[in-house]
């Protein structure tokens, strides 16, 4: 069997060589229950789940496929069934009396499929009267599957690079990072005469910056927007060459990796004697960084998302804006990882309302938004694009179409990639997916911050990413 036939997504060769999977799975389950906080939730869910079906219609996937395996409660029940059978007294007792359910290889394969169809967006939790968090169950299910090596190749390869390779998921060497930052600085000079800097390895800065590292390859405008905001607001910030990657795929498949990556972030802030973690435009990077208080020790640095920072500055009157607003119609996509729990919903809207003359909402929005369809790491799996932009992305495409917007602002590296593909595959060729800072870059009033241009070569756009790309190839 090839590594692509086994599951819908690619896996590594070694996944196929694991033996005694049910036993290993249960051992991992026991170990996880011992040292984490999942147990009481599983107890409560197994006790109370009423199987009422309310959650079904709130899932963007089931809403489109109408495939029973995509009903949130049905999917969660797969893992709850294992828990009930092997980890509750009633289950053990029942198993002794009757010829009850046993965990098999085949059952594990079904779980492996099910838990990567769900994006762990947690939308369905809002509609469950019992408050069952299917995102939590998917998270746990994937974690346990990872312990028997079932992990999409895209996720594990990136994590390996981050923890054991170059040090970040895009394999960008520190030297290439420095070069890229210099190019971005030149570009800011060319475009706006703005002498903004990307301060590298500066100690004692207030903020240590962790964007999704892929932004250095793909989202130059977002990063320039970040630098522009920091420059005009006089923010004290730095990028550490020891660790400059906010991406944390541990959130998608393993708490073991989650812990290690978060600890590395806290470690880099400490190394630089910084005070706070400043996360770039990325939903899951922000939510992972919110685990800094969990894993970062007693003096864990505070975590701030760059949109929160920009909004604070706007409110304080420190973010000068041009009089001309962006006139094209703009809408905002709430990344699940920051909006579902209501933690970041208003700051981006306030910023957008300040800079756009035609801002429209998608419906539903904020905590009730639809996932872009690429959540939970599925966006990194290119092999499932058809599934992602089809059944998983259809609701989002409909929403975007209904707004008639030219720009969809998606302040998340994952959402941006996914939404671009959703628009491509769902016949929305005129929609442009951008970051919030891409727009800020265009409307900040640079009067008083500019400097006379030194001799620079033009057409930096092509050169911009050259050092990075060379670095990656090397």
């Amino acid at each position: 069997m090839s590594t692509r036939d086994k599951y819908a997504y690619y896996i590594e060769e070694r996944t196929l060589n694991v033996t005694e999977r049910p036993r290993r799975f249960l051992e991992a389950f026991a170990a996880v229950l011992n040292s984490s906080s999942y147990g009481p939730a599983l107890d409560t869910y197994t006790r109370l789940t009423t199987h009422c079906g309310r959650c079904a219609v709130s899932c963007q996937l089931y809403d489109v496929t109408r495939d029973p395996q995509d009903i949130p409660c049905e999917r969660s029940e797969m893992l709850l069934k294992v828990y009930r059978r092997y980890f509750t007294r009633a289950g053990l007792f029942k198993a002794r009396l009757f010829d009850d359910f046993t965990l098999t290889d085949e059952y594990l394969d079904q779980m492996a499929d099910a838990y990567y169809r769900c994006t762990a967006c947690r939308r369905c939790k809002l509609t469950c009267p019992i408050g069952i968090d299917h995102g939590l169950i998917t998270h746990l299910g994937r974690y346990l599957l990872a312990e028997i090596e079932v992990i999409p190749k895209a996720l594990v390869v990136a994590t390996r690079e981050q923890l054991e390779g170059v040090g970040n998921t895009s394999a960008i060497p520190a030297a290439a990072l420095t070069d890229t930052c210099e190019f971005l600085e030149e570009e800011l000079m060319d475009m706006y005469n703005l002498p903004a800097k990307y301060p590298i390895d500066v100690e004692d800065a207030e903020y240590v910056f962790f964007p999704a590292v892929s932004d250095f390859l793909l989202e130059a405008n977002t990063l320039m927007g970040n630098a522009a905001v920091m420059h005009v607001t006089g923010g004290s910030w730095t990028i550490g060459t020891g660790n400059f990657d906010g991406i944390n795929y541990g959130l998608f498949y393993s708490d073991r990796m989650l812990e290690r990556i978060v600890k590395n972030i806290a470690g880099e802030v400490r190394r630089l004697k910084g005070k706070k973690v400043l996360v770039g435009e990325c939903g899951h990077a922000t939510r992972s960084a919110w685990f800094v208080p969990t894993f970062g020790g007693p003096d864990a640095p505070e975590v701030v998302n760059c949109m929160q920072y920009a909004y604070q500055q706007l409110k304080a009157g420190k973010l000068p804006l041009k009089d001309e607003k962006i006139t094209e119609r703009v809408t905002y996509h709430d990344p699940c990882n920051i909006a579902r729990n209501g933690r970041i919903t208003e700051e981006p809207r306030e910023l957008l309302k300040a800079i756009c003359s035609d801002f429209v909402e998608m419906t539903p929005n904020r905590t009730e938004n639809y996932c872009c369809g690429g959540g939970g790491g599925t966006v990194s799996i290119d092999e499932i694009r058809e599934f992602r932009t089809g059944p998983l992305g259809k609701r989002k495409a409909d929403q975007i179409r209904a707004t008639g917007a030219k720009y969809v602002v998606a302040p998340c590296a994952n959402c941006k990639k996914q939404l671009r593909e959703v628009c491509e595959d769902n016949d929305l060729p005129d929609v442009e997916v951008v970051g919030l800072h891409d727009l800020l870059l265009r409307v900040i009033d640079y009067t008083g911050f500019t400097e006379e241009k030194a001799e620079t070569d033009t057409d930096a756009a092509e050169d911009l990413l050259k050092p990075v790309k060379e670095g990656v190839e090397a």
Binding site: S35, I71, I132, D133, P293, N341
Partner: protein, 233 residues
């Protein structure tokens, strides 16, 4: 029959009722201690308490929950309201409490009680029917999901006909026996079944949120337990 009824509403009732109360309290205590335990070991000890209380209240009083499947939602809400109110505030029940423990409280008028009782029975049946109508609810439904509403309908239906002898084709005592015994069976089942949400619901949002509050070395501990500390990613 007479003695059977005496037993059913005497010792059997008290045992079943006490069993329910103690069983539910046990679950509440376990749940609360679990949450405390989690928060004690958690690296991040913050909980968005205000938000959790708001969400909990929005489910305890689900006035704004009619976004989809309006009939289904309405049915379940009427069902819940009537099965909670009638047993507690029915005049003849309160009288029994007063006689046995000397406490009493305001009661429902007989008309209101009658209407609510009929609603309880009708909505119980309607829930079962609607579970079979929606493909997803049908798929999710287990035996108990059909059995429990039907079982709940029994004491309401039997209580209703017992109170209205002209509509009752069965002897009074037999009807009462069915009424009291079906309720006793329910009391015993409550702590063991999903009906325990009647007391646990206020805690579920907290449990779900607390589940994300991990100990600061939860991953490392798992690696150690599985002997994977040195294993490459």
């Amino acid at each position: 029959m007479e003695t059977a009824l005496q037993w059913a509403r005497g010792p059997i009732f008290w045992t079943a009722f006490a069993f329910m109360i103690l069983g539910l309290l046990r679950l509440v205590v376990i749940t609360v201690l679990d949450i405390r335990h989690i928060m004690r070991d958690a690296g991040d000890k913050s909980l968005p308490v205000g938000q959790l209380i708001r969400t909990t209240l929005s489910w305890l009083f689900p006035v704004r929950r009619f976004t989809h499947r309006i009939t289904y939602s309405l049915t379940t809400i009427i069902f819940h309201v009537s099965i909670i109110i009638v047993p507690i505030f029915l005049g003849s029940h309160v009288m029994l409490w007063e006689r046995s423990i000397g406490l009493s409280w305001p009661t429902l008028s007989t008309t209101v009680a009658d209407v609510l009782t009929i609603l309880a029975v009708v909505t119980a049946l309607a829930i079962v029917v609607q579970r079979t109508i929606f493909a997803d609810a049908r798929r999710l439904s287990r035996f108990q999901d059909y059995a429990i509403p039907l079982l709940i309908a029994v004491p309401f239906a039997s209580g209703f006909v017992a109170m209205h002898p002209t509509m009752n084709p069965f002897p009074y005592e037999a009807t009462m026996l069915v009424h009291v015994m079906s309720a006793n069976i329910l009391f015993i089942l409550i702590p063991f079944s999903k009906i325990s949400h009647c007391l646990l619901l206020p805690f579920t949002q907290f449990v779900s949120e607390a589940a994300w509050r991990f100990p600061s070395d939860c991953g490392t501990q798992v690696a150690v337990a599985l002997g994977k500390e040195k294993q490459p990613v």
